[in-house]
Symmetry: C2
Subunit: 338 residues, 2 copies
Amino acid sequence: MATTLHDVAQVAGVSFKTVSNVINDHPNVRPTTRARVQAAIAELGYRPNLTARSLRSGHSGAITLAVPQLRLPYFAELADAVISAAEAHGLVVLIEQTSGGRDRELEVLKSPRLKMSDGLIFSPLGLGEEDAALVTAEVPIVLLGERIFSSSCDHVTMQNIEGARAATEHLLDIGRKRIAVVGAHEGEVIGSAGLRLKGYREALEARGVPYDDSLVAYMGEWHRANGALAMHELLERGVEFDAVFGFNDTLAQGAMRVLQEAGRRIPDDIAVIGFDDLDETRYSLPTLSTVDPGRTEIAETAIKVLMERIKTPDGPAPREIETTFSVVARESTLGTAP
Amino acid sequence: MATTLHDVAQVAGVSFKTVSNVINDHPNVRPTTRARVQAAIAELGYRPNLTARSLRSGHSGAITLAVPQLRLPYFAELADAVISAAEAHGLVVLIEQTSGGRDRELEVLKSPRLKMSDGLIFSPLGLGEEDAALVTAEVPIVLLGERIFSSSCDHVTMQNIEGARAATEHLLDIGRKRIAVVGAHEGEVIGSAGLRLKGYREALEARGVPYDDSLVAYMGEWHRANGALAMHELLERGVEFDAVFGFNDTLAQGAMRVLQEAGRRIPDDIAVIGFDDLDETRYSLPTLSTVDPGRTEIAETAIKVLMERIKTPDGPAPREIETTFSVVARESTLGTAP
DNA sequence: CCGGAAGGATACAACGTTGCAGGTATGCCC
DNA sequence: GGGCATACCTGCAACGTTGTATCCTTCCGG
């Protein structure tokens, strides 16, 4: 059996409440008593029972992070960042995988397990704008991503439009004119794909480059295989292009592979840029230029905002926070026009 | 305020204990009462307070997974598998990142937070065989990996020697004779590097191929950059080789990149095989042959063993379990001798 | 030397749940 | 119809902690 406050109290010769007071750094404990209690704590190797503390105090020091799947590098790196940020504040993180399924996401929101934690950082994929009203739970929520903007939760998101615009401008800056897009979603307006396409178009317009829909590859999910497939399709279409904007790094890498197999040199013939700044982009051949969406900042901000909301649930109105981004130029966009 | 057993009891017109009995499927509750209580539960949207249940019953339905870093793909995929396996048993997973630091790993073992969960799945990196005795905690532990074999915990591990042997044999089978190794650790006997080198040597010996230490690249940590560095060094050394065995996929990919930059064709000039079967090996150029160490099986076995140990802490003696592996042949080892 | 205020420690209750021991009907048997 | 087993339900205690209220010192000023 684990040692309790009572055991410590008995050894120290005080009431168990005094031990509690020592542990919680309450004032009005005489230094000599404090020392005696601390000696007893050390002697017995006492560790507080966090479950009991949690029941009594109403908060657990844990938060939940709900993401689609950790095997997707983007979410793995996000989770890494969130756990690190949480750790810095003494919080522990409990992870739920949703597979990006709408039902499973709703289930997580309603699960009693959620109450084992003090708050939720939620990166939905199945739920959309029309479900905004359903995004509520018995704990405060910080929403991530681009699926839902009109919920009543705090929302931390990257600058998709601006980032995509900057990526496109980067390609234009090195002299590319015909920029293919890999990863568009038919008819999508918000959501990463919709926003990034908007940024792409804005950049073209700002530079007076005409938009050509035949340069845009539409697809379903952003998996590497789809990036490869889309690039095959673009090549078969016979349309000319001198650059590719992959809406995320995974797509860009799938596309790069197909380009290389087809004998196109990167960046000489075709420049390629991605989005997300995954770790692996630093090691591909060639290394992949990309947009760093500020993942660490997203994680830290989410934790900060969530902690504030936990402290004062009826605090300020829900906030919409955008993180800073930057274009990371690597080998895949090296040099100038072909 | 959340609804409690008392609230439900009041609505249903029974004692709160009866509500508890209904929830826990206790016998001796009349169907009509049961129905009435369930109606009240539904009406009020009652959800049990898991913290209170946990305090009372002594277990929480959560387990802890301690890994170095989720940003390392191997651990991300492991965590994914563990969470999925846990989910299938109604368990939720709490993740601690250790950075692979010895002190931090010991800290996790001793942290009171660990007691918020019922057990620990622990993949150490900083701790070694000499620390085996320190691997104890207030909850059952299942150890993963190759760092510690003589602890008193259940241990689930892959077949490193056999897997490495099979990988090497695969290279020999396609006619390669001079197989370079990337990722050896100077003087290591156990640990992934030591075991995999052993498997490599066993395969050579079994086929009567002489072992040549000049083909072996020693290094520190298994990061992609080190794989690249090691390959540079091997090339500079001027030693001839027609195949490379990367001790993990990340190293193999770093090596592949350098080989390609140096103008060597894969697999025509040099065949390459890795270890781990990371998702990304399916998408590299060329796709990377590797050893699938049975990650899903590791996760499921770990969960199963941990649950048994939680149920009966003084059950059978600590078990040493090895998972099944398989060689996955992809493009990087296609064809026969050069 | 007494009254009062602070400091220091304690007692009690509560958080929401489950285990255990009981209690009250109901039905069955003789 | 009384005794007794059975089925159903309830009350109490406890898990280990913290908040509130309270009590007992001690020390100071008058």
